[in-house]
């Protein structure tokens, strides 16, 4: 405990833990940040889509007996469809209503979905069967001194980075991406320019929810625990990450997730594990109050 070597390997291990956790936050944060960028709505139900992703894959593997890869892809597709439906039935009718109405609807959907999951799957913690992944994933990939890194952690990080990179390309290099950016700047003008605003919003929800669902499965695998309230706390932290990075920006979500994950782990490891969840709340409040644009993002907070 006392030697410098021990201290530094402790720190390194915590850093590894923090980056993995941050990757998860980043994946969820993308959904918040994209939706907020386009329609200025905090989609509280996004955390529940993440939870549903974990449960859907669980049911496909255990009840339907699908191979994991099939379950993984199917779940992501279903989740993105789910995002579109959510927007269609809950948010689209309120597009012109006061923003308070849409926010309350989002909270209502979140509660509804969480309790629906509780009715379907029960409130106890479930875990994926042990043989769901090839054995290699639970093996240690890297082990220097006391620092360990598993293949699953590497797999998760790779997936996170690759999907973020693809998303970034989609937003900046494709037609639909350009449309998204246009809609997020000015809906009315975009509509006048011939952009199908609702189609773009649906696409945004689909992509965000797909990422959320994927995060759900990865987290379920990594921690081996899925339960109906998992989306609540992860959703809040991911939102904090999105705010931290600068809401509306995909690289910002990535950065925010990473910073928040590391801050949380270092905080729990070196300051106080009792106040671990408080760290994200405090970071979130501080960013909103003192640097509302986030680390990289455009100014928010001036328009009612």
């Amino acid at each position: 405990m006392n030697s410098l070597l021990d201290q530094s390997s402790l720190f390194l291990q915590q850093l590894v833990n923090g980056i993995t956790l941050g990757g998860v936050y980043a994946l969820i944060a993308v959904g918040y940040t994209m939706v907020y960028g386009v329609i200025q709505l905090i989609n509280f139900a996004h955390g529940e889509i993440y939870m549903l992703g974990a449960f859907l894959a669980y049911s496909m593997v255990t009840v339907l007996g699908l191979p994991f890869l099939a379950a993984f892809i199917l779940t992501i597709l279903i989740c993105s469809g789910f995002g579109i439906i959510l927007d269609f039935i809950a948010y689209r009718p309120l597009r012109k209503a006061p923003r308070l109405a849409a926010l309350i609807t989002a909270i209502g959907m979140s509660i509804f979905l969480q309790n629906l999951a509780m009715m379907i799957w029960g409130s106890q913690i479930k875990s994926y069967p042990r043989d769901v992944l090839p054995e290699i994933f639970s093996k240690t990939a890297w082990n220097v001194g006391d620092v360990t890194l598993s293949w699953l952690q590497i797999f998760m990080l790779v997936i996170t980075i690759v999907s973020m990179a693809i998303l970034h390309l989609v937003i900046h290099r494709t037609r639909i991406g350009t449309a998204m950016r246009a809609v997020s700047q000015d809906k009315t003008t975009s509509a006048l320019m011939g952009i199908g605003v609702n189609r773009v919003i649906s696409f945004t929800f689909a992509v965000g929810s797909a990422m959320g669902g994927m995060a759900g499965i990865l987290v379920g695998l990594y921690y081996n625990a899925i339960f109906p309230t998992m989306g609540y706390i992860a959703g809040i932290k991911a939102f904090a990450a999105a705010v931290l990075g600068g809401i509306g920006s995909v690289p910002g979500a990535m950065l925010g997730g990473g910073v928040l994950g590391i801050a949380e782990v270092i905080g729990a490891g070196y300051i106080s594990s009792e106040y671990r969840d408080g760290i994200s709340y405090a970071v979130m409040i501080a960013v909103i109050l003192f640097k509302p644009a986030g680390l990289i993002g455009r100014q928010i907070g001036e328009k009612a």
């Binding site: 926010l103 959907m109 309790n115 809040i236």
Partner: protein, 332 residues
């Protein structure tokens, strides 16, 4: 029941309801009087909480998701003062309200310049931090061990223990809060709040000091929440951090959305319907479904926003209504 009409003549309706409430403990109920009284005491407690919350989203149009934080602050102020200083409830209630107002001002002053969504999320973070502090500062709150052994309130040396005594006590508190809230609504302050809600920029141009009026609203709302918490601690004689979870904020928000945001009569009706409903659901729903009764609250929020955003009893002010209609017309 013609709710539109009820919104216009709430006085008569609530006078009748009040009379019924006063008589209630003495009506024959086959031995379940105390059970009914306890549920109704809970309902009235939530009426007070809802009236307090209503000031922020209802009157000024800002979403406050951290209301339960003030409720918790009030409850712990009350519990700690009662246990350590053996203070009388008549001192505790105003002190708790003051403490709530203090925290409301501290939180409100820096955050109320934020726009709606960001304000909502900051209030949420605040209430979670309050619960975390209550949970972890063992030296002060005993944390998750809870705070048992809070003495019951007493009047002229007579300790209150019976359910009807608490029921009357909370009716009195409700009356006080009701008077305060209605007077505020009809005052200069109230008009300033409505102006802010309808259009911040226009209000500012008309000389309304936005921050000052918003902070006032937030502090008053917080103090009502804290007072309700103080009563709650004295009534339950035991408080625990789990009682002040985020769910409570949502539940109270649900009450005012359901009843009619901004409308005092609606807010009260919302609590009077939804709180006993939970008990009815316990009896009616099969066991597995009872724990999922929040599902219904979630649905209430979604459906009300979609089909009847003005709630059961719409906010009754003619000019506000006109403004709302004008806004609607603009959208079309």
């Amino acid at each position: 029941m013609d709710l539109e009409r009820l919104g216009k003549h709430p006085r008569l309706f609530f006078l009748g309801l009040g009379l019924l409430a006063i008589l209630l403990p003495w009506l024959p109920m086959g031995g379940s009087t105390n059970y009914v009284l306890r549920i109704l005491t809970t309902a009235v407690l939530y009426m007070i909480l809802a009236l307090g919350l209503n000031i922020v989203p209802g009157f000024t149009g800002l979403l406050d998701l951290g209301y339960v934080g003030f409720y918790g602050i009030g409850a712990y102020t009350s519990g700690l003062l009662a246990i350590h200083y053996n203070m009388s409830m008549w001192l505790i209630l105003p002190l708790a309200a003051l403490n709530g107002a203090l925290w409301g001002t501290l939180l409100g002053a820096p955050t109320l310049r934020l726009t709606g969504d960001y304000f909502a999320i900051v209030t949420f973070g605040f209430s979670e931090l309050v619960v975390l502090v209550i949970r972890n500062e063992l030296w002060l709150t005993r944390g998750p061990m809870g705070l048992p052994g809070i003495s019951p309130p007493s009047i002229f040396g007579h300790p209150l223990t019976r359910d009807w005594e608490f029921f009357y006590l909370i009716l009195i508190l409700l009356l006080i809060v009701l008077v305060v809230v209605t007077r505020l609504q009809d005052s200069r302050v109230g008009r300033a709040w409505f102006a802010i809600r309808e259009d911040e920029i226009a209000a500012q141009c008309s000389g309304v000091n936005l921050i000052r009026y918003k902070v006032t609203a937030f502090a008053i709302s917080a103090s009502i929440g804290a007072m309700a918490g103080a009563f709650y601690a004295k009534w339950f004689k035991f408080i625990h951090p789990d009682m002040f979870k985020f769910w409570e904020s949502i539940l109270i928000l649900c009450l005012i959305v359901f009843g009619g945001m901004g409308s005092i009569a609606g807010t009260m009706l919302g609590a009077l319907i939804l709180i006993p409903l939970s008990e009815v659901l316990r009896a009616v729903l099969p066991q597995g479904l009872f724990s999922a009764r929040y599902l219904i609250y979630g649905l209430v929020l979604v459906l009300m926003m979609r089909w009847r955003p003005e709630g059961l009893i719409p906010f009754e002010r003619a000019q506000a209504r006109k403004a709302w209609l004008a806004k609607e017309r603009l959208k079309i």
